[in-house]
């Protein structure tokens, strides 16, 4: 009876007027949130909605936008650059995501060993990740220079007479960018490392008692319990791969043939800021949003089949 009375009182409080103190606190809370809310409205929601509206217009930045309906979306079906840039981005994804994930996972397993100096090693491994993408791109463009670059000099030194022309080759340009990406796997490695350290050691102890081999422990304990981390990494890697820009922007002028480095975002940039076709560029951006959203939703829908959580997230026992 008493409990019921408290509930009624609480409900009345929720529906009715707040106490002066609570009302003041609420106002203060909104006031403190205001900069963020204004920021979201003016710098995020506003541009998002504007870009959606612009995608149905022809706009060169200086003349008033002209309504063209779905023409921008229809144009993509006949646009060579659209297909090329989508192809380049997909090629990069297919090459980079498995490679980066495997490399980061392998590295994290090594860095999870209990050895002297491991903290220093972890720091060293992470250091390249903090370098700016542009600086890394310029550095690698010199390393991968086909004639004078140190990579090809090394390859020639070990007997490969005609090493790839890397960024200047139609076939090797994207693989070269993928290799560059390995430089920055420190971030992913740290996340995998955190995932590894969350696996209860008791499971390994039990496996040891049962006589499990190292490989069995890895495939039966480590990998299944890392699937939430792998899932997280997969989604973030996908999002990052769709958005690759800085490296492509810096390196696209360095001789890549036949649009071999025309990544999707670079195409959007070119259409807007070089060609002044902001309506079409907005449509391209929305198609990218759609494709990435669908891809991520599809992966997400499969997650309950291969992602294992130590704690049942559905609340089922």
């Amino acid at each position: 009876m008493e409990a019921s009375g408290l509930e009624t009182k609480s409900a009345t409080k929720k529906k009715g007027k707040l106490s002066p103190l609570a009302a003041r606190e609420e106002r203060a809370a909104y006031l403190f949130l205001l900069p963020w809310i204004l920021g979201v409205i003016f710098f995020l929601l506003g541009p998002i909605l504007a870009s959606f509206a612009l995608s149905f217009t022809k706009w060169n930045l200086f003349s008033p936008p002209e309504w063209v309906g779905l023409a921008n979306y229809q144009k993509m079906f006949h646009d060579r650059d659209f297909y090329n840039s989508m192809g380049v981005t997909l090629k990069y994804m297919l090459l980079s995501i498995p490679l980066f994930s495997a490399a980061a996972l392998g590295l994290s397993v090594l860095l999870n060993q209990k050895l002297r100096g491991m903290y220093v090693l972890r720091t060293v491994m992470f250091m390249p990740s903090v370098l700016a993408g542009t600086a890394v791109a310029v550095m690698f463009s010199m390393l991968l220079q086909p004639d004078a670059g140190i990579v090809n000099q090394f390859l020639r030194g070990i007997g490969i007479a005609n090493p790839p022309r890397w960024l200047m080759s139609e076939q090797w340009a994207v693989p070269a960018i993928v290799l560059m990406g390995l430089w920055g796997i420190g971030g992913g490695t740290i996340i995998y490392l955190a995932g590894l350290q969350n696996i209860p050691p008791t499971l390994y102890e039990a496996a040891d008692i049962d006589g499990a081999s190292a490989w069995q422990k890895f495939t039966r304990i480590t990998l299944p319990l890392l699937t939430p981390t792998i899932f997280f990494q997969l989604i973030t890697s996908l999002a990052a791969a769709f958005q690759i820009f800085d490296i492509a922007f810096v390196l696209s002028g360095r001789g890549a043939r036949r649009g071999a480095l025309m990544f999707y975002l670079l195409n959007i940039y070119n259409e807007s800021f070089r060609e002044s076709r902001f309506g079409y560029a907005s449509a391209l951006a929305w198609v990218l949003v759609l494709i990435s959203a669908i891809t991520i939703l599809v992966i997400n829908s499969t997650s309950n089949r291969w992602v294992y959580y130590e704690v049942d997230t559905k609340g089922e026992s």
């Binding site: 022809k58 060169n60 930045l61 200086f62 003349s63 002209e66 060579r80 220079q145 086909p146 004639d147 004078a148 000099q153 139609e170 043939r257 036949r258 070119n270 800021f273 070089r274 060609e275 002044s276 076709r277």
Partner: protein, 449 residues
């Protein structure tokens, strides 16, 4: 309570003082009239008097590094115009276009800007300056017609003017040509592609090492250094029948022939492996000819013992009209400039004193009549003046560099690597380039609507 109120008043006063200090242009001795007109001057405190009333701030946006060239001209201009204060803002070249676009959309451009995108003129973002220049006694016909049409003239109206002439020329090493018994190219009559190839191939000598080798030329496709009329129709809207006509196909055939004969330095992996560029080879006396930006080439060669000369760049066929690609640092006045009159003053000052300054700096001025002064006694420079004089008005091709971009693939990939005949490759590329060209014109035309 009293303490609290006093603190509030002090804080309010401090805040007000800060706002005053931050707001608007910082006051200087010359811009703030310190004395009320009604005040008796004999009783006023002795203060620094204004030069002549308020000072007009003038903002100039230019590429990073350019402001250094203007230090002396600005000082000189400000001395002669004490009521104008010029501030030059350096902007990295890669960000310049975006920054100007953003400022224009916001309706807050600077007063003067470097025009590196024709769309700003087409969309009326710059004021015509022809009448002002005329009133100042400046005749735009005294300025290089090639550079003016490329950067500043639209439908006969001048929107900007510059201080220097950038130009592409054929530099040659007289010693190499003498050794091969070859006559020097003329400073007024261009070589044809056949003559150019013959010269380059005749002097090429493949030595055992890089240091023993001599190359004849250092060019890639001629689309960027020849007259655009060779590749586009006169109205700039068509490539079919121009890019793939007999003369252009022949040009590509000659380039391939030269490259296969080892007469063109590009593609030489030994040189690249040792970290040298073709200009290094020119400076070290191992390159007979080089198509190079005039200022760069002249300054480089004047610092060597090489005997050199310059000629106009080769043309497709013997008898073709000579062509010299030229450009300038095009400064104009934004339509929404806060101080258009003062800005016009500064731009016209650059057209006169800015050009004189370039002569002093040893840079070829835009004003043709200063050419002789710039050249002095130097034979090479005198030839350069002759070559510059060949510059003619060009044709407008919006988005030119983006349109011709695929031709490097056509040349390096399809023709040289895959060995496909130029006619077949160019016929294949024509529709691709035409599509890009059509889109560029569509956007261009929309600027004028």
């Amino acid at each position: 309570m009293l303490k609290k109120q006093a603190l509030t008043i002090i804080l309010a006063l401090l805040l007000a003082a800060m706002l005053v200090a931050c707001g608007g242009t910082s006051p200087t001795a010359t811009e703030i009239p310190v004395q009320d007109s009604a005040t008796d001057s004999t009783t006023a405190e002795p203060v620094e008097m204004p030069v002549t009333g308020e000072q007009t701030p003038l903002t100039v946006w230019t590429f990073e590094g350019e402001s250094e060239n203007f230090t002396s001209i600005i000082e000189d201009f400000e001395t002669k115009h004490p009521n104008i204060k010029v501030e030059v803002v350096d902007i990295p070249e890669s960000e310049y276009g975006t920054k100007v676009d953003t400022a224009l959309i916001a309706g807050e451009p600077p007063d003067i800007g470097f025009i590196n995108d024709d769309k700003w003129i087409a969309s009326g973002k710059f004021l015509p300056i022809g009448d002002h220049l005329k009133a100042e006694g400046i005749n735009i016909e005294d300025y290089n017609p090639g550079a003016m049409t490329v950067n500043c003239l639209v439908e006969g109206e001048a929107y900007c003017i510059g201080t220097f002439t950038g130009a592409l020329m054929l530099f040659y090493n007289k010693d190499i040509l003498d050794a091969a018994g070859i006559e020097y190219p003329s400073a007024t009559v261009p070589l044809s592609m056949d003559q150019y190839a013959a010269l380059a191939e005749a002097v090429t000598k493949e030595g055992a090492t890089l240091a023993d080798s001599v190359w004849g030329a250092d060019t890639d496709i001629g689309v960027w250094w020849q007259d655009r009329r060779n590749f586009f129709s006169e109205d700039g809207r068509t490539v079919d029948g121009y890019l793939n006509d007999e003369a252009t196909v022949h040009m590509f055939e000659k380039l391939i022939e030269m490259r296969e004969a080892g007469a063109i330095i590009q593609g030489n992996s030994t040189m690249a492996a040792e970290g040298f560029a073709s200009q290094d080879m020119l400076a070290s006396g191992q390159l007979a000819t080089s198509i190079l930006e005039a200022d760069l080439g002249i300054k480089m060669l004047e610092n060597t013992d090489i005997r050199w000369g310059v000629a106009p760049v080769p043309v497709e066929q013997a008898g073709d009209e000579p062509w010299t690609a030229t450009w300038t640092d095009a400064y104009g006045v934004f339509s929404e400039a806060d101080h258009p009159e003062a800005a016009m003053e500064f731009v016209s000052y650059m057209a006169t004193e800015g050009n004189n300054l370039r002569v002093q700096q040893g840079i070829m001025p835009l004003k043709n009549t200063l050419g002789a002064e710039w050249a002095g006694e130097s034979e090479g420079r005198q030839q350069a003046v002759q070559v510059i004089a060949l510059a003619r008005p060009g044709i407008l091709v919006p988005g030119f560099w983006d349109i011709i971009g695929p031709l490097w693939d056509a040349y390096e990939g399809d023709m040289l690597e895959d060995g496909r005949p130029p006619q077949e490759v160019l016929d294949e590329y024509v529709p691709i380039l035409q599509e890009t060209l059509d889109q560029a014109w569509d956007t261009w035309d929309s600027f004028k609507e």
